[in-house]
Subunit: 195 residues, 2 copies
Amino acid sequence: MAASALEALIDALHLLPGVGQKSAQRMAFHLLQHDRVGAQTLADALDTALHDVRHCERCHTFTEAPVCSTCLDPERDPKLLCVVETPADQAAMERTGSYKGLYFVLMGRLSPLDGIGVSDIGLQALMDRTADGVVDEVIVATNFTAEGEATSHVIAEALKSREVRVTRLARGVPIGSELEHVDLGTIAHALVARR
Amino acid sequence: MAASALEALIDALHLLPGVGQKSAQRMAFHLLQHDRVGAQTLADALDTALHDVRHCERCHTFTEAPVCSTCLDPERDPKLLCVVETPADQAAMERTGSYKGLYFVLMGRLSPLDGIGVSDIGLQALMDRTADGVVDEVIVATNFTAEGEATSHVIAEALKSREVRVTRLARGVPIGSELEHVDLGTIAHALVARR
């Protein structure tokens, strides 16, 4: 029943992560029937982003300039380098307002099950970045998931021979939580790391 | 932290139905980092669909020609007209393989709460369509939801003065279901409509 341009649109929407065949169909109908302006906006935004967005030469995050504004900010402490998995994680760090150093964004995490190995994340670029003679502490802020922990471990190993201190965000009981509802592993870790 | 082209892309993806801010961000990162070909495919598919897809002059569904292939099919019985809410509903009817008449696609349903009134669905076009002197039965196959039933009611009222029979898909117990798990309203209706 569908015209081929419509089917092509449904297939293309189906490429988006987390969008199944039925959702893709609903999105295509919605765009064509109720939001043609939005569809055009999306098409243009995709074209512009594909053309303009690249990786920062220093920290690897998305930017439209050769070096991103964070890396160029003279107010930031160049001796501190925080390693995160994604720009979203970087944004979460920024929202705390309590970090004034620079970043390195891996743009991924180790995930052997998905075929993402050491060469697929920016590990070599991180090595090059930490060799600038200025960085003296690398704060590993990968996620506290199995993949994030594995990534953290590989980074720590790789930086062992360097003249930099490698630290990890503290693990422990989250602020505002009741012990009754915190998982056992977290409590056990918090007990060992008590201070 | 995000470049403006990236923010524009996230905002545009956020326009899609069922996609929140976080999902939009994840989609944008995924497209730019892991699937640039997919992003280009989607941009092109949107442009093509916006340019080529229009409504069939006879049945109102999406098509790339002035009149869709279903309406032009000489094998179909032009005396039967099945009214559905969306092309997806039409596809569901087609999959049964047991309907050989034509269709009319409302491209919506009455939904006063969402501000969708009689003039926003193709009711006038349906009136014009049924005035061709050939159609002698209109099968109302709107959904069996509150909105779909209201839409069905309005269609039946509007067609009352016409020389056409208006029927509705039968309500009853779905094939393959156990009475224990069928809702009471359906069982009560099936009892009244027993044959």
